[in-house]
Subunit: 196 residues, 2 copies
């Protein structure tokens, strides 16, 4: 069983074949994970939030439902959820501009840069940055469509599992957000475990 530790504020990835199962563990709790999946055959095909919402008819897949690509093909299935069940698929990955707009001066690590670094490691210097699958991320939709950034509800060791439906580069970023409270203003690491 392959295990990859994803340090706080960093990203890691691996290539997985159809039928592989993996889990994402929130090691210390209250840590968001930005998950991405790209087809290894053509990285312009990737897990797409807006196509997944249409495919399933809900804002986030329920257990047993797929995440589909921008070509409407299942790429991951949501297989197990050992968390309070709060995840998000509405907000973009954090990036350098996001932190600048939040008042940060100078460089700040971000999920966008971490994704780009991991994909460059697979040989892709330039990829589209899809809207992530924001695991453990607590972005409630309030009356009138307002969205809010709340601390993750996860406890140490909470986890989710996925089945791979297309040969994929799977990338997981431990979200670097420390200005807003989604990671309890204390970014920590995640663990990516291949189950079989």
């Amino acid at each position: 069983m392959e295990t990859i530790e994803v340090p706080a504020r960093e990203g890691r990835g691996l290539r997985l074949d159809v039928g592989a199962r993996f889990r994402v563990v929130d090691v210390e709790g209250k840590q968001c994970g930005d998950l991405f999946a790209f087809s290894t055959d053509d990285v312009t095909e990737y897990a797409s939030a807006e196509h997944t919402r249409v495919f399933n008819g809900n804002l986030f897949p329920r257990l047993g439902q797929p995440f589909v690509t921008n070509r409407r093909r299942p790429i991951l299935t949501f297989d197990e959820d050992h968390t309070p069940g709060r995840h998000d698929m509405l907000v973009a990955a954090c990036d350098p501009t996001r932190f600048r707009l939040l008042g940060v001066e100078g460089w700040h690590p971000s999920c966008q840069e971490n994704l780009q670094t991991v994909m460059a490691g697979f040989g892709y210097q330039r990829v589209e940055v899809p809207q992530p699958i924001n695991l453990f991320t607590n972005i409630p939709v309030l009356e009138g469509g307002t969205i809010d950034w709340q601390p993750a509800l996860t406890a140490p060791g909470d986890w989710v599992a996925f089945r791979v439906e297309l040969p994929s580069f799977v990338v997981l970023c431990s979200c670097a957000q420390d200005i807003l409270p989604i990671n309890d203003r204390n970014p920590t690491g995640l663990r990516l475990e291949v189950l079989d």
Copy 2:
């Protein structure tokens, strides 16, 4: 004042400079419009739903709020709304695969193909297909995150207006969806008018 008729199931576009204002008119009512905006300086920068949600903190901009790009720069501002106020930014553009999955045999026009045709006319044979700004589109979010496809609420002549904040290719598609009821199963045309 430039006026472009967008026939049912088709798309049209135009190049607009900063400060231009335009409106989109639902001529016959109950017709959804897929609106896209790409920076003319670099078409890999475009109006992005997931960045716009973050920028404004809501599912769809309110009057006076911007639509921002995937680089978090305002590209359009939502200037006027003479409709019941129901619009969407959650669902992907319809495409050939969407219609195949809905049981259609053979070719069916779609907003994705219409966007690609318009952008090819501007000299861009290949563009990313962003999640559209789905004007007049009635996709309520129900309890538990279920989303539903309901007929548009617009009456004949209802309209919205925008101000251009970055030099843009603006593309409007009269949504070709006739299997689900969002266009009252009777796609009709829209009008794109440059105001000043």
